[in-house]
């Protein structure tokens, strides 16, 4: 076995190719958690089919002592267990990489490259000899390869047994077979190969104070802490796990032990049209309510979103973006709904959007979304995506301030209404474009008629040109106020001529690229927008840079479009780096894109922009 390869301790990507529905997820989680508990930063990305059983699926584990969470763009160790994808899996492996495969049967296709090292383990044969039952044999093959990797990568076997013990605490027979399979793989690898490989794990202390969590779980937790009580939804990948998590948390945290009474309402709607209607009805009636959906759901919710904008009803939506257009690729990631959400619905509409970059921000922005929706009396959309929502990310442990109380915005109470001579729903009394609202059941003098048809600032029906326009202009004033309420863009560095702008989950790849570019002698400033509408700082950053790369994950440069529509920036200085394959963008993609532009066409930017 080749040992001349350079050692890559705690810095490589391992990819596992299997068939979906065969139970590999538990083995992959076991590997991830073992590395995490060894104190080594790690992330896992699941590339799975829109299917229940039988199609190719991959799990990519990035180990990075530096804490990089994005895809690096190369794979150093491939576990190829799916004959259907052998050829492409072997092709994807970086030169000098390692290929683990099931050697029960001859696999000439896997031995076609001379620049990689093949590690054959008779997984099927070992499991057939040691276990009975077809399903068990298939399942145990997974834990068996985890054992092989434990030996090859120097993983702590005791820690793996401990994790299995936690998973199967209530199923002792399963625990026994899992531990046995783990050992089988471990022993075989130890016996037949020089372990560990030059790629290996060495314990560190870089994961203390962190959690491994996916964005949907984090967003659901944020909804619990925001005090949301009504959740209405229609199942759609990849948002479903957000609602499942909310329900799970509420069942643990919000059910009265004595009476069984539930301090939440969880409604599975008949479709997305109804889901958003329920959210509007509940928010209008004073509860914090939300829904979670994906692109197709946003399309269906458009009509109600226009009503909510115009009638000024708070609402919180999570759009866990997936690949479009149409049904697209439901289990792949994209940032394809930026435009659809920003201006959802007919007529002059515009919506507040928040763009979390990771699960930690899904948690904090979920809470912010409810406060903003009620302060601004308008829908707030949180645009996560499949990569953030369904993959496990390493994040700093979430913090919570016990002094937090929900900001319910301008809601008149009984005594306040009593003192009024007359209540006018859409009158701007404070000059910020935000009128006062009332809730049903409080006071007859506070009653008003909520409608999507033309209305005056007093809340009455109108078809009068002037009265209609007054309300529309006041809504624009509210939009200006919103610019000062939403989360600021985060800016790193200043004074350089080249800048990069990104949004959401593209952030981790850009961050890594910044370091790689610096190593190449290219220093750039960086801004991540976190909300729509854009604040003044966004405009400033664009004005201060001669050339700005806009990194986003869609074909049509939607963030770039929003920037050109909503700021005075000259189109020509915004260069798009677009990644829209359905896989999360890698740092390598960004580095290559920036270098190609700067070095391939030096006229595009003054030479001083390049260089240390």
């Amino acid at each position: 076995m080749a040992t001349s390869a350079p050692r890559r301790i705690n810095d490589f990507t391992l990819k596992i190719a299997t068939v979906n529905g065969t139970g590999s997820a538990s083995a992959n989680t076991l590997l991830m958690k073992t590395i995490f508990r060894s104190g080594v930063p790690v992330t896992g990305k699941n590339f799975f089919p829109s299917n229940i059983q039988g199609l190719p699926t991959w799990y990519e584990i990035r180990v990075s002592h530096a804490g990089h969470l994005a895809r690096s763009g190369s794979v150093e160790l491939m576990v190829a267990l799916n004959p259907e994808t052998y050829a492409r899996d072997v092709r994807e492996l970086a030169p000098g990489g390692y290929l683990v495969y099931d050697s029960t049967w001859p696999r000439p296709v896997l031995l076609s490259r001379s620049d990689i090292t093949a590690v054959g383990v008779p997984l099927a044969r070992m499991c057939n000899e040691n276990f009975t039952g077809v399903r068990t044999r298939i399942l145990m093959k997974n834990i068996c390869y985890a054992g092989v990797l434990a030996a090859l990568l120097n993983l702590d076997l005791a820690r793996m047994r401990e994790l299995l013990g936690e998973t199967y605490a209530k199923k002792p027979q399963l625990l026994e077979s899992n531990v046995k399979a783990l050992q089988l793989g471990f022993d075989y690898a130890r016996e037949h190969f020089a372990c560990p490989l030059p790629l290996a794990i060495e314990p560190m202390n870089r994961t203390a104070g962190h959690v491994m969590i996916d964005g949907n779980t984090a967003a659901a937790l944020g909804c619990v802490f925001a005090g949301a009580t009504v959740a209405a939804w229609y199942p759609i990948t990849p948002s479903t796990s957000l609602m499942d998590a909310f329900k799970g948390f509420c069942e643990r945290l919000r059910v009265d032990a004595a009476s069984g009474v539930k301090r939440f309402a969880f409604i599975q709607a008949e479709d997305e049209l109804a889901a958003i209607g329920m959210v509007l009805g509940a928010s209008w009636n004073g509860a914090r309510a939300f829904t979670a959906t994906s692109g197709p759901g946003i399309s269906l919710m458009n009509e109600f979103l226009g009503l909510a904008y115009y009638a000024e009803v708070p609402a919180v939506l999570f759009d866990v973006q997936r690949v479009g257009p149409s049904t697209g690729m439901p289990t792949r990631t994209q940032q394809g709904d930026l435009m659809a959400c920003a201006y959802a619905s007919h007529g002059d509409t515009r919506h507040v959007c928040l763009y979390p970059a990771d699960p930690a921000e899904c948690f904090t922005m979920a809470v912010e979304a409810f406060d903003l929706a009620e302060r601004l009396q308008t829908p707030v959309m949180v645009l996560s995506d499949l990569d953030i929502g369904m993959n496990d990310w390493m994040c700093p442990q979430f913090q919570w301030d016990d002094a937090y109380r929900p900001d319910r915005g301008k809601v008149l109470g009984r005594e306040q209404i009593e003192k009024l001579e007359k209540f006018h729903r859409y009158l701007d009394t404070d000059g910020d474009g935000i009128p006062w609202r009332t809730l049903p059941g409080v006071h007859p003098k506070g009653a008003y008629f909520t409608r999507g048809s033309g209305h005056t600032q007093f809340g009455t029906y109108t078809e009068d040109a002037h009265d209609y326009q007054l309300v529309l202009d006041r809504l624009m004033k509210k939009w200006q106020t919103a610019k000062t309420y939403v989360p600021r863009a985060l800016i790193e560095g200043a004074g350089r001529e080249v800048g990069i702008v990104s949004v959401g989950s593209s952030d981790s790849a850009v961050r890594e690229a910044l370091g790689l570019l610096a190593a190449e002698g290219v220093s750039v400033d960086y801004m991540r927008v976190r909300a729509f509408p854009f604040g003044a700082e966004v405009e400033r950053f664009l004005a201060e840079h001669a050339l700005v790369f806009v990194v986003e994950q869609n074909r049509d440069a939607q963030l770039r479009s929003l920037l050109t529509l909503e700021t005075p920036v000259a189109k020509a200085k915004l260069r798009s780096l677009l990644h829209y394959s359905g896989l999360p963008v890698s740092s390598r993609f960004i580095v290559e894109g920036v270098l190609a532009e700067l070095r391939g066409r030096p006229s595009a930017v003054k030479p001083s922009a390049v260089g240390a």
């Binding site: 619990v224 005090g227 009580t229 939440f264 109804a274 209607g277 004073g286 929900p406």
Partner: protein, 353 residues
């Protein structure tokens, strides 16, 4: 006449309800519908029922979709919040509002277009959830605001004003609701207020989904010879099966109708519906028989009216009973009861290490 503001003067001799309010307190803005529209009679019946029930105006929530009928929620109980939703989607707004605050009374007013075409799905699912609301359909078989197209409730053979004959079978909301498990199903006629008012009272008090389909002729587009939803045709062909009177819990029974075979249905709050059968063979607590009777009449071109079906013990759980929500409205729960705080967060996150 809509430009004339309605004066809010009350005469001291006007009768008052238990809250000391006159009927005027339950009125709304002036109607902008055509003179003689059946919908206005229904509005008047709603005003009467709310006054009789002594509902606190702010404790009523009025919901509607889009169409002539949906405009009418502005014409009654001006002290109640109203929500004019998008076309066909009122049930989802009602569901959300009801989830947030179960203590208020919810009345939805819709039309045959709003309910039976664009809103058919939401209507069906509101029935399935047994959403606690009174859902009224002002049914005229025609699209009024867009000038006279057939709706899904148009009968086979009925003729449009422009002469076209409808050949597609109607969707009957009463049969549909019976099939979907509705716990209170009634049909009325806008021209018979005596029958309609107690139905509205009972429907508002019923726990769960109460449907009242009200035949309400469109004087502009569907009141001509050859229409099966004209005043003349409806008067001739509506057939009361069961007369109902509503008796609040505190009041003694004084049934409006003459003596007959009377039967009482007690609601969850102690109030009662007194039913008097016209046809001695009819049992309004037998779902299958009710559906069969409606169908039999329909095949001979007649509408069976009255309280067609009621779940006598209000046994089917409503949304909140199924969900297990507290008696206290969700929108009134203190934040401290909703958030587990920083200590709770640490405990939750321990699982993600």
């Amino acid at each position: 006449m809509t430009f004339i503001a309605k004066p809010k003067v009350t005469h001291p001799s006007l009768p008052q309800n238990a809250l000391g309010l006159t009927r005027r307190a339950y009125e709304g803005a002036l109607s902008t519908l055509c003179a003689g529209c059946g919908h206005d009679s229904i509005t008047a019946a709603i005003v009467e029922a709310c006054w009789r029930l002594s509902i606190e105006p702010q404790n009523l929530v009025k919901l509607s979709g889009i169409g002539c009928s949906s405009k009418t929620t502005a014409y009654f109980v001006s002290g109640a919040h109203g929500f004019n939703a998008v076309h066909g989607r009122m049930p989802s707004i009602a569901m959300g509002a009801n989830a947030a605050n179960r203590r208020l009374s919810y009345i939805g007013v819709s039309g045959d277009g709003d309910t039976l075409s664009i809103g058919l799905g939401q209507f069906c699912h509101a029935v399935r959830r047994n959403l606690d609301m009174l859902y009224m359909i002002e049914n005229n078989g025609v699209y009024g605001l867009t000038k006279g197209q057939f709706s899904a409730s148009a009968d086979v053979g009925t003729r449009a004003k422009k002469g076209e004959t409808n050949l597609q079978p109607p969707i009957d909301p009463v049969l549909l609701a019976l099939d979907l498990g509705a716990t209170f199903v009634a049909r009325g006629f806008s021209g018979d207020k005596r029958q309609l008012v107690p139905l509205i009272e009972a429907g508002l008090k019923h726990r769960g989904f109460a449907l009242i389909d009200v035949l309400s002729p469109c004087v502009t587009f569907n009141d001509h010879e050859g229409s099966t939803k004209s005043y003349a045709y409806t008067r001739e062909h509506y057939e009361p099966a069961v007369l109902a009177d509503f008796v609040p819990s505190e009041a003694p029974i004084t049934v409006d109708y003459g003596a007959g075979e009377a039967r009482e249905v007690t609601l969850h709050d102690g109030s009662r519906i007194v039913l008097r059968k016209i046809d001695s063979g009819y049992d309004p607590t037998d779902r299958a028989a009710a559906a069969a009777a409606v169908q039999a009449r329909m095949s001979s071109g007649e509408y069976l009216t009255g309280l067609i079906y009621v779940d006598p013990g209000e046994e089917r759980p409503d949304f909140h009973q199924i969900n297990g929500t507290p008696e206290e409205p969700l929108n009134a729960l203190p934040y401290e009861q909703l958030s587990p705080g920083s200590a709770g967060l640490r405990k939750v996150l321990a699982r993600y290490r």
